[in-house]
Structure formats: C-alpha cells, structure tokens
C-alpha cells in the first residue's frame, strides 16, 4: 500500500479503519498511550473528532479512547484498503 495510505489520527475521517504504524512522541507520551493499548501494530477505527482542534476518539479492542488533538496528530495510521 505504501505511504499513500498513511494518515494521522486527526486527518482520518470518522468511521475509517487502519493500523497504527508510528507514534511520534517522547517516551512519556508513548508510555501513556501504550498503557491504554495504543501501540504500533494495533487495529483501530476512528469514532469521532471534536470541532476546533478538539480530541479524537478512537476505538480499539472494543474500548474507546479519547486523545487530545496535539497528541492525535502525532499518531500515524496505515489505512485499510477499501
């Protein structure tokens, strides 16, 4: 699929699915995300994002996680082929 399908969580549209491939953050941020199950290799889907640089809500393993905008834009997802 290549890099064409790579998008940050904030760029994804609600309802789209994909696999987390990259988390561009320091150790602290990565650790906190890992603890909540957000890791590279995980299948996720986007539930919603709030207007005005609001948080993104994603779903993985049947759990919903809300991620602040500035963190979400540093999480990259390889989109599923339609």
């Amino acid at each position: 699929m290549g890099n064409n399908g790579l998008m940050s969580l904030t760029q994804m549209r609600s309802g789209q699915h994909g696999i987390v491939v990259d988390i561009q953050g320091g150790f602290g941020m990565t650790d906190r995300l890992n603890a909540l199950g957000v890791r590279t290799g995980k299948k996720i889907s986007k539930v919603s994002s709030m207007v005005g640089r609001g948080p993104v809500t994603i779903e993985l393993d049947r759990v919903q996680i809300a991620i602040g905008f500035n963190m979400a834009k540093r999480i990259f997802v390889e989109m599923d082929r339609l």
């Binding site: 199950g37 890791r39 709030m50 049947r62 759990v63 963190m71």
Partner: protein
C-alpha cells in the same frame, strides 16, 4: 497477620471488589509523606484473619508517577497479590499481570467485569489462560458479588511465580501470543447503547446530549431538593422543633446571653429559623433543612452520572473550551465535584498531570464554583426575590470562571497537557451503589459541616455580645459600603464566610438587603476567601506559597467583581 494487596489498573472495579471482600469496617489512610491515599480493611482467608489493602490503581510497575511508586513500595510489604483485571480488556490488563508474575509474591487473578464479556461477545478460554500464566484466574463481578467466594477460596493455592524479568517489548509480544490463544471476539453487532456511546462524543449530537443531560440534571436536583425542603423537612421542623424552641425560650426567660446563644432572637411566639441565629435554631435549620436536601439531591444525580459513565464523555466535549483555561477536558470532573463541595473537588485535581494545571483548576474551583451549601442558600434567600437574581449570580460566576482561566493560562509559565482518557462503555447504574456512595458523601457533610456551623454561630453570638463587630464594620465601611454597596454590617458575614459560606449568607437575612445587594453579597462570598475546610486542602495541595497566591487572587477578584456589579446592576 497476612497482608493481601489488591492491585490493578484504574477503573477495573478494584474498590468495588475491595468492599465485597471486606464488608464494612475500612479506613482510608494516606501513604506516609504523600498525598496518595489507600484503603485498608480485613477479611477472612481459610479461617484466618488477613489485612487487605486497596493499592492505588496503576498500569505498570515502572515508577513513572507517584501512585505507581507507592504501588511498587507496597508490593514489597505484601504477602499475596489479588491482581484485579478487566476481563473486557484483557490485553491491556495483562501488562501489569506479567510484571507482577516477575515478582517473588503469590498472585491470584480476579477477572472482573466478567458479566460484560458475555454481552460484548468476548470469549475467554479460562483453562488455557490459567495454564499459560500458571496462577489461579477467577471470573468475578464485583458489583453483584459473583465469584467472590471462589476468589477467596483460591487464595491459599497461590504460589509465587518469579518469572525471569523481560523487556517491555518482550512483554507486549508475550501478551499478543496469550491473547491469540485465549481470547476470541465475536463479530460486532451494534447495539443501541453503542450507538448512543458514539453519538455522545460526536460534535453535534454530543452537544445535544450534553445539553439534555445537564439541563435535566439541574431540574432533577432542584425538584428533589425543593421537594425535600417544602414537603418534608421544613414542615417537620416547624411542627416538631419550633414548639421545643419556644418552650426553651420561656425556660431561659426570653432573653439574655445564654438564651441568645442557644435559641437566638425571637419576636413574639414565632420563631424565624433563618434569622434567629441561635445554635439550636438556625444552627440546626440551616444545615439540616436548607442545605442537606440539596446535598442529597446533588450527590444522587452526580452518582448516577458517574456510574452511567457519562463524565468522561463530557470531558471530551469540553476539551476545547478547557484548553482556553489552560486545562484539558478531564478537569471538568473536579469542576463538577466542586458544585457539591470544593474540598473533594480540589483533592480530585490530582487526576491532572502538572502542578500548573492543578493550581489553575484549584484556584478556579475555589473562586468561581459555588458549593452546594452556598448554592442552596442562594436559592433560598436570593431566589425569594426572583429567578433572574439567581441567574445573575450564576452568570457572573461563570464569566469569572472563563475569564480567570484565560488570564491564569496567559500568565502562568508552562503549557496545558493533552487529554488522554479511556471512555468506558455506558452501564446501567445500580441503585444500591449509587445510594451507598451518596450516603458516604452525606455522612461526610454531616460530620464536617455541622460542628463548624454550630461553632461559627457560637463565635458570632459571643462577638456580638462583646460588641466586637461595630469597630470592624466602621473600619471596613469604605470597602463594604463604598465599593460593594452593602450595609457596613455585612462585613461580619463576609468575614464569617471563612468558616462556612452557608451560615455567612444566612447572616445577611436579617439585614433586609435589596435583591441587587444580595446578588453582590452572594458573588463576593462565593469568590472571596475559601471556607476553612477548603483553605486546609488548598494548603495541603498547593503548599504555602501557592495558597498565598490563590488567596490573593481570590480577594482581589472578589472585590473587583463585586465593585463592578455594584456599578452596573
């Protein structure tokens, strides 16, 4: 005596399990030298009494936060671990489990929230899980008590595993392989509650749901509070307690220092419980009849919202706005708690990551979030003159909350961290747990508020009889009358607001203030000095210099806003 530790991620029902295991007698303590508290109790294991400790919730045993450091330290002191795991999210919970199994301590796993796995289509192969981990794993439902007996019986079977220590990535790899072998998830079917779940975090539908939830909460709180006052407590007090007071007044000769302290001022055969200001008249009427009903109704509704799981969704919706104030959405939770009492609200600011956030959140709560006791008095005294005056009080405080947050965010060094929270699925709240929680909070109010209220009224009476207030009133008249437009005697109420805000507002009742003056006084009381209980926790949480800063901001802004209201109203 053996020490059993309950260890698990936050929000896996650890505390519910704890109360199932221990029954009633538990104590909350602070871990020495820290602000992290834990609960301790006792249980019977195989006929022997054992101590059981509810360790603060943690995701890992890598000491990255204070709670985690303490959890780690407690592990060294314990004999057995009950690892509470969220069965509906096994994958995430297992990280902590694997770390525990590397320690030299026996572990039993409680697969909690087991009932939810069924309706979420999650199947877990228990036997395989036990084999792979090599420790007992017992399905439990802490809320209903299912599986608790099996859990207790399995404790003696536990042996230390002491697995070799592995790296983070190796742990995740192992978890992946375990999940592959033991868990199977059915194809998803969208249920109504899941649709509602998604709708409440979408911008448009979410805002509508939030509006419905908040408006209906407000009306339910008012309905229950008002109903309890008008149809239960006020009639009860007037029918049963008023005659006793009149009699006591007769016995004490209808006047004198002791009479005024106990019964207060009585004119004729009628006793005005708000204005008489005796320990046994207003001292009981204000907390029990005017304030308690709203405490009950507020905490009942809050408990339901908490247990349904709505609050994290509100945090998502409010995140953008809270960023203006230098906070993130999760700070809405301490703010809502503050509408009940500022003390637990300020304690709850610990869920925020940085000192800067905690300072902003605590200051905003103690300035602009009126507690239920004060609100009850605002409804009782200001509301008499019309709803628009109550709205003015709330409107002013809301504007102050936003502006003050923007200003603090602007001038304090640092930045606001990002929101990162799990949004739990909606659950039907159990009435029993809601009522239990409500009762704990009401008991806290009764135990802490009533002694202070009685003491405050005693002090006020003594100072009155010594004529101590006149001097102060004349001294502060330029500010109280000149700036705020209140009668100079109102200063006593503003000062006594330091003890209790509800009593302080009650003191204004005999002064026959105009509605506009009542609005100003209510706002100034809400914003100025925190009550003594809040003061103490602010000191504990912010330290002395933080408290000084916060208090300075409060007094200055209270006078500023009071003065502006005096000019424009």
């Amino acid at each position: 005596m053996k020490k059993i530790l309950l260890v698990g991620n936050p929000n896996v029902g650890k505390s519910a399990l704890f109360s199932r295991l221990t029954g009633v007698r538990t104590t909350v303590s602070n871990y020495t030298g820290t602000t992290i508290s834990y609960t301790k109790g006792f249980m019977k294991v195989g006929g022997e009494k054992a101590e059981i400790i509810d360790v603060p919730g943690t995701y890992t045993l890598e000491p990255t936060s204070e709670a985690e450091r303490i959890a780690l330290k407690m592990l060294d002191e314990g004999d057995i671990v009950i690892n509470v795991v969220n069965a509906t999210n096994l994958e995430r919970s297992l990280y902590l489990t694997l770390q525990l199994l590397e320690k030299n301590i026996p572990v039993v796993i409680a697969l909690n929230i087991w009932d939810d796995t069924k309706h979420r289509g999650i199947h877990i192969d228990l036997k395989k899980l036990r084999d792979l981990l090599g420790v007992p794993a017992i399905p439990t439902v802490a809320l209903t008590g299912e599986g608790i007996k099996d859990l207790v019986e399995s404790i003696p079977d536990a042996l230390p595993k002491k697995n070799p220590q592995i790296t983070r990535d190796e742990r995740w790899a192992e978890i992946g392989s375990i999940i592959e072998q033991v868990q199977h998830i059915d194809r998803r079917h969208h249920r109504l509650s899941e649709k509602l779940q998604d709708a409440s975090v979408k911008p448009f539908s979410g805002a509508i749901i939030a509006a419905i939830v908040l408006v209906s909460s407000f009306f339910v709180i008012r309905f229950i509070g008002e109903g309890l006052i008008n149809y239960v407590l006020d009639p009860l007090f007037n029918r049963l307690w008023a005659p006793v007071m009149i009699k006591l007044s007769d016995i004490l000769g209808g006047g004198g220092v002791l009479h005024d302290i106990l019964v207060g001022k009585i004119y004729g055969d009628e006793i005005n419980f708000v204005e008489s200001f005796g320990i046994l008249s207003s001292g009981l009427y204000v907390p029990l009849v005017m304030v308690l009903p709203y405490i009950i109704s507020f905490y009942f509704v809050l408990g339901i919202l908490e247990d349904i799981g709505y609050l994290p969704r509100l945090a998502v919706l409010m995140d953008t706005i809270m960023h203006w104030l230098g906070l993130h959405g999760y700070a809405i939770i301490p703010t809502l708690l503050g509408l009940g009492c500022n003390v637990p609200a300020i304690l709850a600011t610990r869920i925020l990551e940085s000192n800067r956030e905690r300072f902003i959140a605590s200051t905003l709560v103690s300035i602009a979030v009126p507690c239920a006791a004060l609100q009850a008095m605002v409804f009782g005294l200001v509301g008499k003159h019309g709803g628009q005056y109550v709205a003015m009080v709330y409107g002013t405080l809301f504007i102050v909350w936003v502006l003050m947050g923007i200003i603090l965010n602007r001038f304090l060094k640092g930045f606001s961290p990002e929101l990162l929270i799990e949004i739990p699925p909606y659950r039907l709240p159990l009435l029993r747990t809601v009522l239990q929680k409500m009762w704990m909070r009401i008991r806290g109010f009764l135990a802490e508020a009533i002694p202070i209220i009685l003491g405050a009224i005693f002090v006020i009476n003594v100072l009155y009889s010594l004529d101590a207030f006149n001097g102060i009133a004349n001294l502060t008249a330029p500010i109280v009358t000149g700036v705020l437009g209140l009668p100079k005697e109102a200063v006593t109420s503003l000062i006594l607001g330091f003890l209790r805000k509800d009593v302080a507002l009650g003191m204004l009742a005999p002064l026959a203030l105009a509605p506009k003056q009542l609005v100003i006084a209510s706002v100034v009381l809400a914003m100025s000095f925190p009550c003594i209980a809040t003061f103490v926790v602010l000191l504990k949480e912010l330290g002395f210099s933080g408290l000084l800063k916060a208090t300075g901001i409060m007094i200055f802004s209270a006078l500023l806003v009071g003065g502006i209201l005096n000019l424009i109203l």
